[in-house]
């Protein structure tokens, strides 16, 4: 009787053991596929030499906002960076125009929004739209680093994006430049912090700590670029200073220092060339060594 019970008990346990083993065996193949896909995508990203410059225009501006800047940069750099323009529609769909030329390792990508209105709630919306576009780009082009340029509200969208959406450890942002970004909106007095600035400061610990940030202000007179108070741009230091690796504030004056002209300001073009774009490394060398290397 006892041995009978015993046998029954053991049989039940052995059934559980068999079920467990079968379960494990069934999981082997999906695991294999997952890890192969995962590793090959990681390898692809790791090997990628693509390092795009992703730009966001300010409010009321379209994806064509940086056309002149790109032309000027291409002339100055004596090399043609390709230009890809993206518009994110209100219904989250993404529209592409332009292409990235094969073997162009530093293309410009401009992300515009169908709803490009001003205001904190719109900026939050636009940051979410940008994250959709960014993820689509990351999936499509497999880059492991990028450079960010935001003009006016574009810089605010970037700040919100970095604090709330950018949580990838496989992609780094090398450099950020915000041009005439009103971190305190049109409020010139830094004692009066807008809700947005307060929020930016509250979540600043989520900013990427290894990046370098440049905040460029333009001034027509001593305190404004005609639209944005210089003190509002300066407020960026409360967000970035001490949080990112380097934070530099630059003020440009003179011709084309009016807010909307800033992207085609000659000094700013030079700054972008110097600080944001990758140095054309060893191009002369390559010519000398010649065909042997490839």
């Amino acid at each position: 009787m006892k041995t009978n019970l015993n046998r029954q008990r053991r049989r039940r346990s052995l059934i559980v053991l068999i079920i467990g083993s079968v379960l494990l065996a069934l999981l082997v193949w999906p695991s294999y596929q997952w890890t192969q896909a995962n590793v090959s995508s990681m390898t692809g990203r790791h090997d990628s030499r693509l390092s795009p410059v992703i730009m966001i225009p300010g409010s009321s501006a379209t994806q064509n906002r940086f056309d002149r800047l790109v032309t000027q940069l291409n002339t100055a750099e004596k090399q043609k960076h390709s230009l890809l323009k993206i518009t994110v529609k209100k219904d989250d769909t993404i529209k592409y125009s332009g292409t990235i030329r094969p073997r162009d390792n530093e293309p410009f990508i401009v992300v515009g929004f169908e709803n490009n209105k001003d205001g904190y709630s719109n900026i939050k919306q636009q940051a979410r739209w940008f994250s959709l576009a960014f993820n689509a780009l990351a999936r499509k082009y497999q880059f492991n680093n990028f450079k960010a340029i935001g003009h006016s509200n574009g810089g605010l969208i970037y700040t919100y994006f970095f604090e709330h959406y950018f949580k990838r450890d496989d992609i780094t942002v090398k450099k950020v430049m915000t041009i005439g970004s009103p971190y305190n909106f049109s409020e010139a007095n830094l004692n009066h912090k807008t809700q947005m600035l307060a929020d930016f400061i509250k979540y600043r610990h989520q900013l990427p700590s290894k990046t370098t940030v440049y905040s460029v202000a333009g001034t027509e007179n001593y305190d404004t670029d005609g639209l944005v108070p210089a003190r509002s741009v300066e407020a960026g230091k409360y967000i970035y200073q001490g949080q990112v690796k380097h934070f530099t504030e630059i003020t440009v004056t003179g011709d084309n220092a009016q807010h909307s002209d800033l992207p085609q300001n000659k000094q700013i073009v030079t700054l972008i060339k110097e600080y944001i774009l990758d140095k054309k490394q060893t191009k002369a060398n390559k010519g000398l060594v010649g065909a042997g290397t490839e």
Binding site: N6, R9, S13, T35
Partner: protein, 442 residues
């Protein structure tokens, strides 16, 4: 072998049986058993949360659940809650149990003693902050790592009841007046316990013991997990296993450092070279301990589950092992630790430490002979033990085979100790039968 093993068991049984029958051990064992159902429910909830409802969890990853399951982002909330209040609050139950059983053993009011013990633990774990929204209690003291602390506090409470209150009759008293009378007998030890708890709590807060020790502990864990010397890795693994058996957290227990510098370097090297064979740090906590020493959670308890299926004659063992199968498959060892129990059990000390270390040694040899690459690629949370190395080596079949060999080895190591433990249970059972018979005769 069989005969000599039997002889050894026969020689060990009386000694271990005596240890089992000490009051101290009885209280501990009953307390651990009391936590078992809560740990079981909590473990099931935890594995569902970690493997299915976390985006980077094992089942979620390989079946891309986050892409097609509706409302996926919100599904984990109820499981978070359930896990938090069962598995991660288990020390409260332990404090209750220890205080209750200690008081019962000495014929004191066990109900009040148990509740007082639980409250004493909460008093100690209370966090004094200025901000109300912060966590009220220190999670470290209430979770599985606080189990030992809970038992100590519970036992102290029981001891206070033993010192400061009179024995009560076990006979049921139902009159309100008598209950009130009994309550007043217990008031002194209750107050004493709570006062002591408050003093400890404020003292710990004043000296900032918790935050300080947490910090230095995190620092220590960081050093341990980032080490890449072979001997340090083995030493730290042994320490982790020993501490875990006594209900404490070892240096490798919590994976605070998910991306240690050594791991990152390994990964980058492997990605650059398109091969994982020649990475700079082949022998780390990750490549050896995590990959081959934790099947079924700390202590290779999946092996004990299988050993019971194959060879046990004890009914309870089979039941516990069957319930523990699924959690153990996804590396939750709580049900086995508290159900058998393995926790605080000197019999399982040797296999609990030796099985993982032997597996690590096998893996280290296989890596150094280039039979398989060290595991360098990311592995989802809650991956079943034998598949960890397989996934972490980009699907290297040798790694899978070595994982299975390690599992078989561990089953073989656990087998004799399981028989010894069974023999003791059997002896204890017979002894209790015999004492009942002599009691009848009297």
């Amino acid at each position: 072998m069989g005969l000599s093993e039997q002889q050894i068991i026969n020689r060990l049984v009386p000694t271990l049986l005596r240890l089992r029958q000490t009051n101290f051990y009885r209280v501990i064992q009953r307390t651990v058993m009391l936590t078992f159902p809560f740990v079981l429910i909590g473990s099931f909830s935890a594995i569902i949360e970690q493997t299915v409802l976390t985006k980077t969890g094992f089942l979620a990853s390989i079946f891309h659940l986050s892409k097609w399951v509706p409302y996926y982002r919100y599904l984990h909330y109820p499981f978070d809650n359930l896990t938090n209040l069962t598995l991660d609050s288990v020390a409260i139950i332990a404090a209750f149990g220890a205080a209750k059983y200690h008081a019962k053993l000495h014929h004191r009011d066990d109900q009040l003693s148990g509740l007082t013990g639980a409250i004493a633990l909460l008093l100690i774990a209370y966090q004094y902050t200025d901000q109300a929204q912060n966590g009220l209690f220190n999670a470290l003291l209430l979770g599985t790592n606080g189990l030992t602390g809970g038992i100590i506090i519970g036992s102290l409470t029981g001891w206070y009841f033993q010192l400061f209150s009179k024995p009560t009759n076990i006979v049921q008293k139902t009159h309100a007046a008598e209950i009130l009378d009994r309550t007043f007998h217990s008031l002194l030890p209750m107050l004493m316990t709570m006062l002591t708890a408050l003093v400890i709590s404020i003292g710990m807060h004043y000296l900032s013991v918790m935050s300080y020790s947490e910090e230095s502990w995190a620092q220590f864990q960081k050093i341990a997990t980032t080490s890449h010397s072979l001997w340090l890795t083995f030493g730290m693994a042994a320490l982790t296993l020993l501490l875990e058996l006594f209900g404490l957290a070892g240096p490798y227990q919590q994976r605070l450092v998910t991306n240690s510098p050594a791991m990152t370097t390994n990964l980058n090297t492997a990605l650059s070279q398109h091969s994982a064979y020649h990475v700079p740090y082949p022998f780390t906590a990750n490549t050896l301990y995590d990959a081959f020493g934790t099947f079924g959670g700390t202590g290779m308890l999946l092996a004990l589950v299988i050993a019971i299926y194959v060879a046990s004659h004890n009914h309870n063992y089979h039941v516990v092992a069957r319930w523990s199968m699924l959690p153990a498959l996804f590396n939750a060892n709580g049900p086995m630790l508290t159900g058998l129990p393995v926790l605080y059990n000197p019999i399982y000390l040797i296999p609990f430490i030796c099985a993982p270390l032997l597996n690590m040694a096998v893996a280290a040899l296989a890596i150094s002979w280039h039979w398989m690459p060290p595991m360098v690629y990311p592995v989802p949370i809650g991956t079943p033990g034998p598949l960890i190395a397989f996934i972490g080596t980009d699907g290297n079949w040798v790694a899978l085979v070595i994982g299975l060999v390690c599992l078989a080895l561990s089953v073989a190591i656990y087998m004799p100790f399981m028989r010894l433990s069974e023999a003791i249970l059997h002896a204890a059972h017979e002894e209790s039968l015999r004492s009942e018979m002599t009691a009848d005769e009297n």
